[in-house]
């Protein structure tokens, strides 16, 4: 144990930086607040929205969300880190979530995970050098009847076999589910540029192992 301490006095957000969240995203977040009795209750929907838009929830995004919901940035930091689906640093274009529940593991889930690590050249929580894929695991995706399974962004891949991996990874549409979507609520926001992850940047804050 070293005597060096992490310095929390240093600002990580430039106070003069232009707003990160677009007007559309802000309005959407505020529109969520009407569903609840407290503004803070809109925090999870807000985090989902921001992460979908920016690819991750950066420190600056946390500060802006806090201001919108009348809470402290530390409250956002507190809540965000409790949930494994949110990350504070950029991830790859597509995030592969491999299920490691017992059902999946008994049917070869661990082998799928190992094969992906080898194929992408990364460990869990890592991002491939081309910024294309990040790899994480989840305790159970509730797809046990299709074990082993994994999610790529929002698409669930069922009964994944080692031989299928190349085909799945090569498919450009492997991360989207094609289905009618609601436009009354939670319409996907206008596409904003995702911030690509650098290959070296590892998201230590979502480490859950």
């Amino acid at each position: 144990m070293s005597w060096k301490a992490i310095d929390r006095n240093q600002a990580v957000v430039d106070a003069d930086a232009p707003p990160l969240l677009s007007e559309g995203v802000r309005e959407k977040i505020l529109s969520y607040t009407h569903r609840y009795e407290t503004k803070r209750a809109a925090l999870l929907p807000a985090l989902h929205l921001v992460q979908n838009t920016l690819g991750h929830v950066s420190w600056q995004a946390m500060v802006e969300i806090a201001a919108l919901l009348d809470i402290q940035p530390s409250d956002v930091f507190d809540t965000l880190t409790f949930y494994t689906h949110f990350w504070t640093h950029p991830k790859g274009e597509k995030v592969i979530t491999v299920c490691r529940s017992l059902s999946c593991e008994v049917l070869g889930g661990a082998a799928v995970l190992d094969a992906l690590k080898a194929r992408l050249g990364i460990e869990e929580h890592g991002t491939s050098s081309d910024g294309q894929y990040s790899l994480v695991t989840e305790e159970c995706l509730a797809g046990c009847d299709h074990a082993p399974c994994m999610l790529i962004n929002e698409k669930l891949h069922k009964n994944v076999k080692l031989d299928d991996l190349e085909r799945i990874l090569a498919d450009g549409d492997n991360d989207r589910v094609d289905m009618p979507r609601s436009d009354l609520f939670d319409a996907p926001p206008v596409a904003e540029s995702k911030q690509p992850a650098s290959a070296t940047e590892d998201d230590s804050r979502t480490t859950d192992d």
Partner: protein, 427 residues
Amino acid sequence: MKNVGVDGSTTLKVYESRGGYVAARKALAMDTNAVVEEVKKANLRGRGGAGFPAGVKWGFLPKDRTTTLLCVNADESEPPTFCNRVLMEHDPHQLIEGTIIAAYATRSQVAYIYMRGEFHEQFHVLQKAIDEAYEAGYLGKKVLGTDYALECYIHRGAGAYVCGEETGLIESLEGKRGQPRIKPPFPAIEGLFRRPTVVNNVETLSCLPHIMERGADWFTGIGPPHSAGPKLFCVSGPVNKPGCYEAAMDITVRELIERDDMGGGMLSGRKVKAVFPGGLSMGVLTVDELDMKMDFEDPRNYSLLGLGTAAAVVVDDATDIRLVLRNVARFYGTESCGQCTQCREGTSWMQRIAQRIESGAGRMEDLDLLLETARNMGMMPGLSICGLSDGATYPIETIVKKFRPELEAAIRSQPAGQVEAVLQAAN
């Protein structure tokens, strides 16, 4: 599960063509208390895991309340459970209808469906169905043309098992970390936004349309008296037909695995070694215990915590029991919210011990240590705020107790000096 597998089952049109929303209309024509009484009479026990009667739960709401909130627990996170997923994926309107009935019976103004973040497809399906219901006037200011108003929103979780605990869910809905609350006060008195709140599971609510339509007597006529009504059973692992099956609560674990209209037997060449019949948290059965009845009472006779989610995962004889132990221990180590000491430290300690045992560096005394840690985490109710701690102890305890010979044999077969080498390297 009558609409699962029907073409277009997720659409309002098909749902209505098969008798949908008739029950809700019937319920809304009744007095709210009469609906509660009917559900009490049906002895509808919660399908989420605890088995608490839904009607009784509703009865705890203060009589003089002005605001009531309904939370639908769709945070199905107990491995290996997926029956709610199936219900939402294939029959979203049945859930919405059940939600309307429950909300009406409890005089709720808003229903929040707390859905786990891993459900993407299901979210789109259910949201689309909610939109349809709004458009048709089944939700909103005038539900089904009556003066009853109900708003219904989906609130998505983001990867936290503990949010399936009802007060963890409430905290999460309030935009906080999903740490279960201390009780009392119970949600019925002071829940979401400090309002009287009811939290019901998806499957529980999905039973309501059928109870309202066919009556409590029909419901209690199915299965044993203490475990009335149809139930969804999941089976997964190396069986021929992993899936979700509906049956009365008088089937045995063996039937669930072997019946042709259910699990369809083991994959060729594999044999049952162990079964977690009710989700991991309830504990494990050996191959000699497969005649356990899948109801609310019998599991206790097999040192299990309860029926749980009635989702069985089968472990075959090719799987090392140490892998199972580690998988289970890691699950709780990862998912403990970290609030209560026993659970935060105990789960992580058990995880480290189990990982070491799996890596081939187990010590005989580790088995007793696991048992004692489990006992210290759950020797008596009240040791921790919520049930996750108990849920973590049952599988560990039952694995170590029921599979002790195999674990001991594995430890005995380790090369000499292995333990010392591993511990030295680790520390």
